[in-house]
C-alpha cells in the first residue's frame, strides 16, 4: 500500500468517536499544562503512563499526541502574557510576544502564534507522513554496528547542544548512563550497580527519574527562588484578530519556521531551542521592520512559534522509525511504547500500521482541534494563570508522588524521587542540563546491546565497529558536533583579541 492509502486508513482509525474523544482530552490537557508554568509535556505524559494499563495503545498514543502538540500551543500563551517561557522553545516568543502584549497587541500576538503553530504543525505532519516511511525503509539496512554509532552520535549531539558547556553536558549524559546500567544485565544475568538492594534489580524506571527531575527538582528550585521573582500577567488587549498588515507580515515567517523546525527536530540534539533561535535570527535579518525587534515585532513571534511546532513533529521521525528519542518528551513516549510491549523502529510500520498511521492521522486532527480550542477560547485558558502558585506547585508535587506510587507501589522509588529531585535541583543551580541524562538513561540498553551484538558478530574484533560506511559517517558527525563549537569559539576569541592587541 502506498503512503496515501495508509494515511487514509489512519484517518479511519483517528476519526472513530472514541479516538476523537481521546484526541480532545489530550488537546485540552496539553493546552492546560502548556499554559501552566512548571509542567511540560514530558512530565504530563509520565504522570499519565498508568493509564496504559487500562487504555488501548491506539487511544493512548492519540491522547499523548494531543498533549505533545497542545503543550506547544499553550506554552506560547504563557510566554506572551507573563513573559515566563515555560520551556526553552518559547524563549523567543516571550521576547517579542510579551512586548506586543504590553503594547496592547496581545490578541494579535496570540493569534499569530496559534495560526503559525497550526500552519507549521500541519506542514510538518505532512513531512512526517512522507519522510517516516522512507526513513523506516532505510533503517532496515542498519547493522548493529551502525545502530551503536547512531547512539554515539545521539549522545554526543545531545550533550553538546543542550546546555552551556560541553563538560557539563557530558556530566549529565554520563550520570544518565550510570543510572541506565543499574539492574540485571540482559545478556549475562548479572546484577550490576544494585548494591544488594532488591528494588534495584529491575533497574531504575525512566518514569521515576523523569517525574523526579521535572516535578520535584523544579519545585525545589522554584520554591527556593520564589521570594525574588514577581510575575505579572499582562491582560489581553487589542483587536481579537490580526489586521491585514499583520497577516502579510506573518505568513512568510510561518512557512520559514516550518522549514527550519522540522529537520532540526528530527536531528538528534536539535531540540526546540535551536530551531526557534535560528528562526528568530533569520526573521530579524530578513524583516523590513528591524527596528521593531526587541520592541514587539510580530515576525519574532510568528517564526519561532512555527519552528517550535514543526520541531515537535520532527522529533517523531527518529522516534517512530529508529526507536531513537531525541528529546525528553520523545524519551517518555518510548517508555509508553515499551509499556505496551512495542518497540518503535522500522518493524513498527509493518507490525502495527493501525497504531502508526492512526497516530499520524490524529496529529492532523489534533492540530485542527487545537486551533479551534486556542483561537476563540484563549481567554478561558488565561484563567489558568490565576491559579495561586502555592496550590499549583503543591498539586504538582502531590501528582508526582501519586504517579510514582501508582506505577511502582514501592517506597524505595518514592525515596529515589526525593533523592533524584535534590540531584536535579543541584543540576539546575549549577547549569548542568537535564535532557542528556534522560537520553543517556533511556538509550544505554540499546547502545550496549547493539555494541555487544556487533562485537559478537565480529568475533570480538573491535574493527568491526568501523567497517561500515554508515557507521563511519555517524562517527564523523559525532566528532564534528564535538569540535565545531570549540573551533568556532577559538575563531571568535581570535577575532576579538586581534583589535585589542593590534
Amino acid at each position: 500500500m502506498d503512503t496515501l492509502s495508509l494515511l487514509l486508513h489512519g484517518f479511519q482509525v483517528a476519526l472513530q468517536p472514541v479516538n476523537l474523544m481521546w484526541a480532545l482530552v489530550g488537546s485540552l490537557l496539553g493546552t492546560a499544562i502548556g499554559v501552566l508554568p512548571g509542567i511540560g509535556p514530558a512530565l504530563t505524559i509520565a504522570l499519565l503512563l498508568p493509564v496504559t494499563v487500562s487504555v488501548g495503545p491506539v487511544s493512548a498514543f492519540i491522547m499523548f499526541a494531543g498533549i505533545l502538540y497542545g503543550a506547544m500551543y499553550g506554552g506560547s500563551t504563557t510566554a506572551i502574557l507573563i513573559n515566563t517561557p515555560g520551556e526553552a522553545g518559547s524563549m523567543m516568543t516571550a521576547l517579542e510576544g510579551n512586548r506586543m502584549a504590553r503594547a496592547g497587541r496581545g490578541a494579535a500576538a496570540l493569534a499569530t502564534a496559534a495560526i503559525g503553530s497550526f500552519v507549521a504543525g500541519t506542514l510538518a505532519t505532512m513531512a512526517l507522513t512522507f519522510a517516516a516511511p522512507a526513513v523506516a525503509e532505510l533503517a532496515f539496512i542498519l547493522t548493529p554496528a551502525d545502530y551503536f554509532a547512531l547512539t554515539v552520535m545521539a549522545f554526543t549531539s545531545v550533550s553538546v547542544v543542550m546546555g552551556s558547556s560541553r563538560v557539563r553536558g557530558f556530566i549529565s549524559l554520563f550520570l544518565g548512563l550510570a543510572l541506565g546500567v543499574v539492574g540485571i544485565d540482559a545478556m549475562t544475568g548479572q546484577a550490576r550497580m544494585t548494591f544488594s538492594i532488591p528494588d534495584l534489580l529491575d533497574g531504575i524506571e525512566l518514569t521515576v527519574v523523569l517525574v523526579s527531575v521535572f516535578a520535584v527538582g523544579e519545585i525545589i528550585y522554584v520554591a527556593s527562588r520564589n521570594r525574588y521573582y514577581q510575575e505579572e500577567i499582562t491582560p489581553i488587549r487589542g483587536k481579537a484578530f490580526m489586521t491585514a498588515d499583520e497577516w502579510r507580515r506573518s505568513w512568510k515567517p510561518w512557512l520559514r519556521g516550518a522549514v527550519i523546525g522540522f529537520p532540526m527536530g528530527a536531528i538528534p540534539g536539535g531540540g526546540s531551542e535551536l530551531p526557534t533561535m535560528l528562526s528568530y535570527t533569520l526573521e530579524k535579518h530578513l524583516s523590513r521592520h528591524k527596528d521593531e525587534f526587541g520592541k514587539g515585532a510580530i515576525e519574532g513571534v510568528a517564526g519561532p512559534e512555527a519552528a517550535n511546532n514543526a520541531a515537535a513533529a520532527g522529533v517523531l521521525v527518529p522516534l517512530l522509525t529508529l526507536g531513537l528519542p531525541t528529546s525528553a518528551t520523545a524519551a517518555i513516549l518510548l517508555v509508553a511504547f515499551q509499556n505496551y510491549g512495542l518497540q518503535p523502529g522500522p518493524f513498527l510500520f509493518t507490525s502495527n500500521p493501525e497504531l502508526v498511521w492512526g497516530l499520524i492521522a490524529s496529529l492532523y486532527v489534533g492540530n485542527c482541534m487545537l486551533l479551534v480550542l486556542n483561537l476563540p477560547l484563549v481567554g478561558l485558558w488565561v484563567r489558568l494563570l490565576y491559579i495561586p502558585k502555592p496550590q499549583l506547585y503543591a498539586g504538582i508535587l502531590v501528582f508526582a508522588m501519586i504517579g510514582i506510587w501508582g506505577v511502582s507501589g514501592s517506597t524505595f522509588d518514592l525515596a529515589l524521587m526525593a533523592g533524584l529531585g535534590l540531584v536535579s535541583y543541584a543540576m539546575r543551580v549549577y547549569g548542568i542540563p537535564i535532557a542528556p541524562m534522560l537520553i543517556g538513561l533511556i538509550l544505554v540498553p540499546l547502545a550496549e546491546t547493539q555494541l555487544r551484538t556487533a562485537l559478537a558478530a565480529g568475533e570480538g574484533r573491535f574493527q568491526v565497529l568501523f567497517e561500515s560506511p554508515i557507521a563511519l559517517a555517524f562517527y564523523i558527525v559525532a566528532v564534528l558536533f564535538l569540535i565545531v563549537p570549540w573551533i568556532m569559539a577559538r575563531l571568535q576569541s581570535a577575532a576579538e583579541s586581534r583589535p585589542s592587541t593590534g
Binding site: Q190, A223, S224, L397
Partner: protein, 156 residues
C-alpha cells in the same frame, strides 16, 4: 564583586565520587567476557572512568576561574526555609505512606509545599491535599490500579 567568586568545588567532587562508585561496582564484574569482546562490566567501567575524568575537568575549569554559569550570576541565593520545606515534603511520602495511607500523605505534602510558597491557610491546604489524594485513590482503583491501603490507621 570579589575578583574570585567562591566556586562550588563540591559539584566536581560529587561527580568524581559518582564515578568512583561506578568503578567500585564494576570491580565485581567481568570487563572482558566469555562472550564477544566485552562483558557486563565494560559499560560500568567506562561510565565510571568517564565521570571521574569529567569531574576533574570541571574542577580544572573552576580553578581557572571560568565563570561557572550565567545563571549563577543572576542567582539571588536561596530561600532556605522554603527549600527545606519542599525537601521534607518530597521525602515524606517514602517515610509515611505505608503507615498513614495516600490521602493523609497527600495532605501533609501539599500543605508543606504551599507553605514554602507562602500560603498561610494551613487548614484549607490540608483539606485540598486530602481531597486530591482521595480523588486520585478512587480514580486509580476505577482504572484498576492499587494505590496502597486507603487509611491504614483506621484499618480501611
Amino acid at each position: 564583586m570579589s575578583e574570585r567568586r567562591r566556586q562550588p568545588w563540591w559539584v566536581g567532587l560529587a561527580v568524581i565520587l559518582a564515578g568512583a562508585v561506578c568503578l567500585y561496582a564494576s570491580s565485581s564484574l567481568d570487563i572482558s567476557a566469555q562472550y564477544a569482546a566485552i562483558g557486563p562490566g565494560f559499560f560500568v567501567t567506562a561510565v565510571g572512568v568517564g565521570l571521574v575524568v569529567l569531574g576533574v575537568l570541571l574542577l580544572v575549569q573552576m580553578a581557572r576561574g571560568t565563570a561557572f554559569d550565567p545563571e549563577l550570576e543572576r542567582d539571588p541565593g536561596m530561600d532556605k526555609p522554603a527549600f527545606f520545606a519542599v525537601v521534607v515534603a518530597a521525602l515524606l511520602p517514602a517515610l509515611v505512606i505505608e503507615t498513614v495511607g495516600l490521602p493523609i500523605t497527600a495532605a501533609l505534602s501539599f500543605t508543606l509545599v504551599s507553605r514554602a510558597f507562602g500560603s498561610l491557610r494551613i487548614w484549607t491546604n490540608l483539606l485540598i491535599g486530602f481531597i486530591l489524594g482521595t480523588a486520585a485513590w478512587f480514580l486509580f482503583s476505577w482504572l484498576g490500579l492499587q494505590l496502597g491501603t486507603f487509611l491504614p490507621l483506621a484499618g480501611l
